[in-house]
């Protein structure tokens, strides 16, 4: 894990103080509303329905146990005792008071945490593979590159007033678990034998109102040129991106308006000029950064003790089920990666209380080198658990309702905060989540449905990434009522695709039934061992449409959005 040095700490202390000064000037009436809005957004502070909402950065989803404990203290002291983990690997607090935010941030700065650039038209938190450094399919650990990008983009003087927000994701694995095709810039380490890192660079991906899959702008970018190349892209975007219409201001619109070829020519010529004055990253800097992420604490005798896992599985079926669904193999023999599910029935997906945070921090210290990860799917991971320790850990997790064995199933759904918290929402998403949980409460049925990703957004901004769900649910507003649209066939990874809208929207009391019809159609049509997404790819929307709308089609058609 990256450990702050003296300049890192000094910068954070100064930034924390600077923001406190801005809040105080605003409260004293010395800072205009429009200006304070822009300044607070650049530090993660929104004014939401009920109260301010503060989004705290978790760079590439990596937390120390000390940091998680600090988040628990923040939840208790300044909030109502819980936080919400987001699809961008950050955490949000929904109830802080504006006057207290400077002190909250001062507390967090003690554990090297902050809210810098978690909102606003700036480069946002760099996201990555939650299995970075431990995945069996990894070519190279992406985190040193994430940290280099984090530092470079933090308070960058040229890019503090971009046309719109800018999201960068990095993966170092063969299977993309960071959705690099759906970010403003996506970076994927290219598989090759040499000692030097080479990236495939994607640009112009994104969701929201007009979803686009990114396009490859560079097939083989040398790692040493990463920052220069990203700078070239950002400069072209800063200069040429649209600023007249906020809905057309993301880089995806620019890339598609110019065409990738023209856009690439512009970027390449800017890159050439940049290289004349900035040669690029030195190998030494990259090596120093890599050293922060080398994990060497593994117990060499772990594999020898793994027999206990088989023994425990044999004597306890519940445990065996949890092992099968909530753990996955580690690169190092004798170890597992475990998922703490934040999707217990009745819980708001991604929410975790202070007690749960503290418990998990304790488990991380006892079993997993004091490290916790946040996944894009809004779960928490302990990435280095000895197989022999799994049973004890499971028992601990169960007490805190963190052991629901539903990872990868329908109820492991992604869900944005929706109308209960978000002022932009068109519909509630948490209500639908809880109805789905009630309807699909039988584990055997869930396991029979198999691998399904359900993603839900409360409005077209798509914070819940509904376009990328095998099944997506989008909240829309009609006559001031909450309605829901279904999309099918989305996927975020190597097989990335944007889901297709199934048909007219459903009322709040129809949507869960419609979902059930979709799943029934799948069960009826699937071939042996065929996943939902594969059945959909084979058959398309048609059979699902028939199952859901049947001959009532004409009725709902008139309500089409």
């Amino acid at each position: 894990m990256y450990i702050y040095n003296e300049p890192d700490r000094a910068l954070l202390a100064q930034r924390t103080e600077q923001f406190a000064g801005q809040v105080n000037r605003y409260l004293a009436g010395e800072l205009a509303e429009d200006e304070f809005q822009q300044l607070r957004l650049r530090n993660g502070l929104y004014m939401e329905l009920n109260a301010p909402m503060l989004r705290v950065a978790i760079p590439y989803g990596l937390l120390s146990s000390g940091q998680l404990r600090a988040l628990a203290r923040v939840a208790r002291t300044y909030d109502r005792g819980y936080g919400h983990f987001t699809t961008r690997q950050n955490i949000q607090f929904n109830w802080p008071k504006l006057e207290q935010v400077p002190q909250l941030l001062a507390d967090l700065s003690q554990v090297e945490m902050h809210a810098i650039q978690t909102s606003g038209s700036v480069v946002r938190n760099i996201t990555s593979d939650p299995l970075a450094g431990v995945a069996a399919d990894e070519i190279e650990d992406p985190r040193p590159w994430c940290e280099l990008l984090r530092q470079w983009s933090t308070l960058h003087p040229e890019f503090n007033w971009l046309p719109r927000k800018f999201k960068i994701a990095v993966t170092g694995a063969r299977n993309d678990r960071a959705a690099v095709r759906f970010h403003d810039i996506g970076l994927q380490v290219v598989d090759e034998a040499g000692p030097n890192t080479v990236f495939r660079v994607w640009v112009g991906g994104g969701l929201g109102r007009s979803p686009f899959m990114g396009q490859v702008i560079h097939e083989r970018l040398p790692g040493t040129q990463l920052l220069n190349y990203v700078e070239a892209i950002l400069r072209i975007y800063n200069l040429e991106g649209r600023r007249d219409n906020k809905h057309k201001a993301r880089i995806k619109i620019l890339v598609n308006a110019l065409g990738i070829d023209v856009f690439k020519v512009k970027v390449d010529s800017e890159w050439a000029l940049i290289q004349k004055v900035q040669p690029g990253l030195s190998g030494e800097i990259v090596e120093q950064m890599r050293a922060h992420f080398v994990e060497s604490r593994y117990d060499p005798s772990a594999p020898g003790k793994s027999g206990r896992l088989t023994f425990d599985c044999d004597r306890n079926a519940d445990f065996a089920r949890w092992v099968a669904h909530n753990t996955t193999l580690h690169r190092v023999p004798g170890y597992r990666i475990i998922y703490a599910s934040l999707k217990a029935p009745g819980a708001a997906p991604g929410d975790l209380g202070a007690k749960g945070m503290e418990a998990l921090a304790g488990f991380a210290e006892r079993y997993s080198f004091g490290e916790i990860r946040v996944s894009h799917e809004q779960n928490l991971l302990l990435a280095h658990v000895r197989e022999a320790d799994l049973y004890d850990l499971w028992q601990g997790l169960r007490i805190h309702r963190l052991a629901t064995p539903n990872i990868g199933t329908l109820t492991d759904m992604i869900c944005c905060p929706g109308a209960d918290y978000c002022s932009l929402a068109h519909a509630s998403s948490l209500d639908v989540a809880s109805m789905i949980n009630q309807r699909f409460d039988d584990l055997d049925h869930l396991y029979d449905l198999g691998d399904i990703s359900l993603k839900m957004s409360g409005c077209i901004n798509a914070c819940g990434h509904h376009h990328l769900g095998h099944i997506g649910i989008l909240g829309v507003k009609k006559r001031d009522e909450h309605w829901y649209q279904l999309t099918l066939g989305g996927a975020p990874g190597n097989d990335g695709a944007i889901g297709k809208r199934l048909g007219p929207a459903f009322a709040a009391d129809e949507i869960v039934e419609a979902l059930e019809q979709v799943l029934r159609a799948y069960l009826a049509w699937r071939r042996p061992r065929e996943r939902f997404i594969d059945t959909w790819r084979r058959l398309g929307n048609t059979p699902f449409k028939e199952a859901v709308y049947g001959d009532t089609h004409h009725r709902t058609d008139t309500l089409a959005a």
């Binding site: 300049p7 300044l39 038209s121 003087p157 800063n238 940049i274 004055v277």
Partner: protein, 153 residues
């Protein structure tokens, strides 16, 4: 409307490396001008650019101008920052680079770091607040455009 003041930003190379000072050095020629059409060059070597202008389209090489003014029509339009950096780093422009229009004191630091050395600010600007704002953050992850040298340090 009161005539804006011109504030000069001075790097203090001998003190803390990135600490910067600022002082009022005069007044603007006209009250709050915001140009709709740009690229006008007056007799005294002032070139006026707006956010939609591009450095590569300039009528002559930047070095021929004594002062290049970049106008911000709204404070959250960041194009001028990129123009400034291009002028300083790629065109080695070493003359005066002035930010005009809608700029706020909390932006002074980043404007300076992109290469602006004078700012046109409202007449009632509180110089003490400006000095605080401009020195709020002295530790940086990125190289700054150092005035005069025209290169990234």
């Amino acid at each position: 409307m009161a005539i804006p003041i011109i504030v000069q930003i001075r790097w203090r190379p001998n003190a803390d490396e990135s600490s910067i000072g600022c002082s009022r050095i005069g007044q603007a020629v006209a009250p709050n001008k915001t140009w709709q059409s740009h690229r006008g060059c007056s007799d005294d070597g002032h070139l006026q650019l707006g956010a939609t202008d591009r450095v590569e389209d300039l009528p002559s090489t930047p070095g021929t101008y004594r002062v290049i003014e970049i106008d911000f029509s709204v404070f959250n339009d960041g194009r001028g920052y990129s123009l400034a950096r291009q002028l300083r780093t790629q065109y080695q422009y070493a003359g005066e680079l002035r930010a005009t229009g809608d700029i706020r004191i909390d932006q002074a630091d980043m404007l300076a770091r992109c290469g602006f050395d004078t700012l046109e600010l409202p007449a009632d600007t509180d110089m003490a607040q400006l000095e605080t704002a401009i020195n709020a953050i002295t530790v940086h992850y990125q190289a700054d455009v150092q005035l005069g040298s025209g290169s990234v340090s």
